[in-house]
Amino acid sequence: MAKIKNLVLETISVHITLIFCFLLGVADGVGGWRDYGVDPSQFSGTLMRTCERLVKEGRFVPSNPVGILTAGYCELLQNKVPLLGSSTACIVVLDRTSHRLHTANLGDSGFLVVRGGEVVHRSDEQQHYFNTPFQLSIAPPEAEGVVLSDSPDAADSTSFDVQLGDIILTATDGLFDNMPDYMILQELKKLKNSNYESIQQTARSIAEQAHELAYDPTYMSPFAQFACDNGLNVRGGKPDDITVLLSIVAEYTD
């Protein structure tokens, strides 16, 4: 797992190991709240910590990651503290007994599953319009109806089998907007074995590379490409927080 802090860290990730499943979660706080005096990391952080707590207390079903998101979001509303903010969310659950991966994705964070050097599964970006992803949010009362607030049910959910050796990469849009698939795959090819150090090293190098590209003004990033396709004439990377979680499906050892 690697994190590059760019501006104020808004992206939060959690990973939880239980006996029967393994969980990853990533939430990317929407930065615009800073203009209203709200710390964008408060919402995403509390959301992920609440999901973590739900999972640790067993209040979840592995095949229903959307349920985790929904329950986590509802718990946020039960807090006495008046939380404000919004974030995307991506939750990935590996069920050890059935060897299936269950995912829930709301917004433009996401995951890739790489097998034999090729992307076999990926999440879809959920955008309302350009640079405006789906997001869970809690708005101040005066802004209700004005602030974008998607229901957790709007999350995309998928389930599929995984095999030994599959690489699961979960990241915020800071990665996908700056690094196209082939570059990510190139980095992943360098992964020789599944020990912790190599994975950590690879995650770090992916994140660092994305970070460099983000600040390259001439580089035609996926983000710039998409903007051009929508009629905006831009080049360059997209400076953003980058969080990368890298995991490999391996034999279970005690």
Binding site: E75, Q78, K80, P82
Partner: protein, 631 residues
């Protein structure tokens, strides 16, 4: 201590004191779950101590949080602590619904039952199950906010995870109430603990002679400044019975007192049950001066005795037996303090004395098979005709038949408390509509459904006090409010705590229809938006409001506060926790206008910081201004 004690006793005492001292000084370092510790001994057998966190929360009387939530709910008491040693108002703790004396000071406050023994002051309880039964050596309670509420710790001999089928257990229990025993490990009157800081509470517990994995805490928060919050309860115990449990009670003077207390607490009922039917009282030639006293005077003297004492007195002589069995002594009867011992047999023996009973408190009784549906029904058939007030809070033995019997046998019923009776099936509540004379109905945390409630509201037009807190099965509260506005014109207090979907329409109908409302709890109702004008409408239409809770309604704003200041000058208690939109200026207006205001909760109101609270406190010293914190 006499120096003449034999050698063995000296050694016993030494071992006993080592064990007691060990229990008192157990440190937090020992709090890894299930780590075995060798106790230090001399020439005595090794006893391995087990440390456990609660595995499961089995039962409780109330909590602050929402059903199905992890925030501020009793289920947080299971497992390892989440917050301790931090102090503060955190979601991951267990919080009861009430604190202080505020609920005794509002229009919905109920008159207390007389004859409550002074040793019983419990207001709420929670029952915890542990994995392994042990002989307890210590109980550590981790309190993380406003500690000091725990007043009693009990241990049960029944194993909640045992394999006995329920019918078999019930048969065994019916035979003798001592099959399920509750022993008080520790009990004390509530004491004021200064400050909200977290602490580990380790009272000196009594040694008991059975292993237990079911612990019950009883709390009284009346002396606390804010909600108490508990994080975990750690049970230390040994698997093997400690050698000296009998000797111990002879050595420590405190233990002796507790034993006597225990006697009073428990044996009165046993005596009642066992000896009542075979009363052979000696005939004395005279009863001394008692023969000279008028009947009414003896009755008056007896009216100060607690029920167990009354039962004991009945065994002394025929005259007093007659007095003690007089139904006039049982007009108001509270069996809640004796919840651990009341069973079908007790009810049977009390039957003949309770024919004129008007107030009956069976709250907390009858669980784990102690009272059966038939036993309860039989009792009510004999004693229900004059019943005016019936308290059945946490009565988990109640089913539809019971409710049917209540409504049929108690035609004069005016007050019915079914708080936390979450085992009653939804269709059972339809019967309540038959009791047209109902003035007070408490359905907190029950499964009452829409149709039954509408029916009740339609027929019970005398209703003055209604609690629908956390009634999660109701789909449309606007409809309910509309029915109330139309039919329950005499409503004085209404508890709609956590009523998820009430909107401004419901509020409008309520405000127009129930003009006599003095108390309204709309805490945690997220669908109410101040921008619709619902709060200002409320304030204008209900000038008699004394208590208004708008807890966690994030839209409450200055306009609302100003309207309250203008229209509701009799306001005594106001809770506006968690709004960002109320400024100090409007609060000042409110405090100046509402001279009777005594409670103002501005916790988590972002514009009201500690400096403002200090200033308001200085200018308005009669108001308790609450500002909770996390850290």
């Amino acid at each position: 201590m006499s120096p003449v004690f034999p050698m063995l006793t000296v050694l016993s005492m030494f071992y006993y004191m080592c064990l007691r001292r060990r229990a008192r000084t157990a440190t937090r370092g020992e709090m890894n779950s299930r780590r075995a510790i060798e106790s230090n001994t001399r020439a005595l057998p090794i006893n391995v101590e087990i440390v456990q966190y609660a595995k499961e929360v089995l039962d409780f009387s109330s909590h602050y949080g929402s059903e199905n939530s992890m925030s501020y709910t009793m289920w947080n008491l299971a497992g390892i602590p989440n917050v301790y040693p931090s102090s503060g108002d955190f979601t991951q703790t267990a919080v009861f619904r009430t604190y202080g004396t505020w609920w005794d000071r509002c229009p919905s406050a109920r008159l207390p039952f007389t004859r409550t023994p002074p040793t019983f002051c419990s207001q709420d309880y929670v029952e915890l199950a542990y994995e392994e039964p042990v002989y307890p050596t210590a109980v550590h309670i981790l309190e993380t906010y406003h500690p000091g509420a725990v007043v009693r710790i009990l241990a049960c001999s029944a194993n909640p995870y045992s394999q006995n089928p329920p019918a078999e257990v019930r048969r065994l229990l019916q035979a003798s109430c001592s099959t399920v025993r509750w022993e008080i490990l520790w009990s004390e009157a509530p004491t004021k603990v200064n400050g909200p800081q977290a602490r580990q509470f380790t009272p000196c517990i009594k040694q008991i002679n059975f292993p237990t994995n079911l612990i019950r805490l009883e709390v009284n928060s009346s002396l606390l400044d804010y909600y108490t919050e508990l994080d975990a309860v750690v049970l230390h115990g040994v698997k093997e019975r400690p050698v000296l449990s009998l000797k111990a009670s002879m050595i420590d003077m405190n233990d002796i007192d507790e034993d006597e207390d225990e006697e009073k607490y428990g044996c009165g009922m046993d005596t009642l049950n066992k000896q009542f039917s075979v009363v052979t009282l000696r005939e004395w030639p005279t009863n001394g001066y008692f023969d000279k006293l008028p009947y009414e005077l003896i009755q008056l003297i007896l009216s100060h005795l607690t029920v167990p004492d009354l039962c004991r007195l009945a065994q002394t002589c025929k005259l007093l037996y007659q007095h003690c069995c007089d139904p006039l002594q049982y007009i108001h009867l509270s069996l809640q303090p004796y919840w651990a011992r009341i069973n079908d047999t007790s009810l049977e023996y009390l039957q003949s004395r309770c024919t004129l009973i008007q107030w009956l408190n069976l709250s907390w009784t009858g669980n784990r098979g102690a009272i059966s549906v038939s036993g309860f029904s039989r009792f009510l058939k004999v004693c229900g005709s004059e019943l005016v007030r019936l308290e059945l809070s946490c009565g988990h033995f109640l089913n539809e038949t019971c409710l049917e019997v209540i409504t049929e046998m108690c035609p004069n019923l005016q007050e019915l408390n079914l708080s936390s009776c979450d085992k009653i099936p939804p269709q059972a509540f339809n019967h309540i509509a038959k009791v047209g004379s109902l003035k007070r109905l408490i359905l907190y945390r029950t499964k009452v459904e829409q149709t039954a409630l509408l029916s009740i509201l339609n027929f019970c037009s005398e209703l003055q006090h209604l609690s629908l807190g956390s009634c999660v099965m109701i789909e449309d509260y606007d409809l309910i409010a509309s029915m109330m506005g139309a039919k329950c014109k005499k409503l004085r207090s209404l508890d709609l705590w956590r009523c998820k979907n009430i909107t401004e329409n419901g509020i409008a109908e309520l405000a127009s229809g129930c003009q006599l409302l003095e108390e309204l709890d709309l805490g945690w109702c997220p669908t109410l938006q101040s921008s619709t004008g619902c709060f200002t409408n409320l304030a204008r239409k209900l000038p008699n409001l004394q208590k208004l809770f708008l807890t966690a309604n994030r839209s409450v704003c200055d306009t609302d506060i100003e309207e309250l200041a203008a229209s509701c000058t009799r306001l005594r208690q106001l809770d506006i926790l968690g709004t960002r939109m109320v400024s100090p200026a409007s609060l000042r207006k409110l405090l100046e206008s509402c001279k009777d205001l005594s409670l103002l909760d501005v916790s988590f109101c972002s514009q009201i910081d500690n400096r403002v609270v200090l200033e308001l406190n200085a200018n308005f010293p009669n108001v308790f201004i609450k500002k909770s914190f996390t850290q």
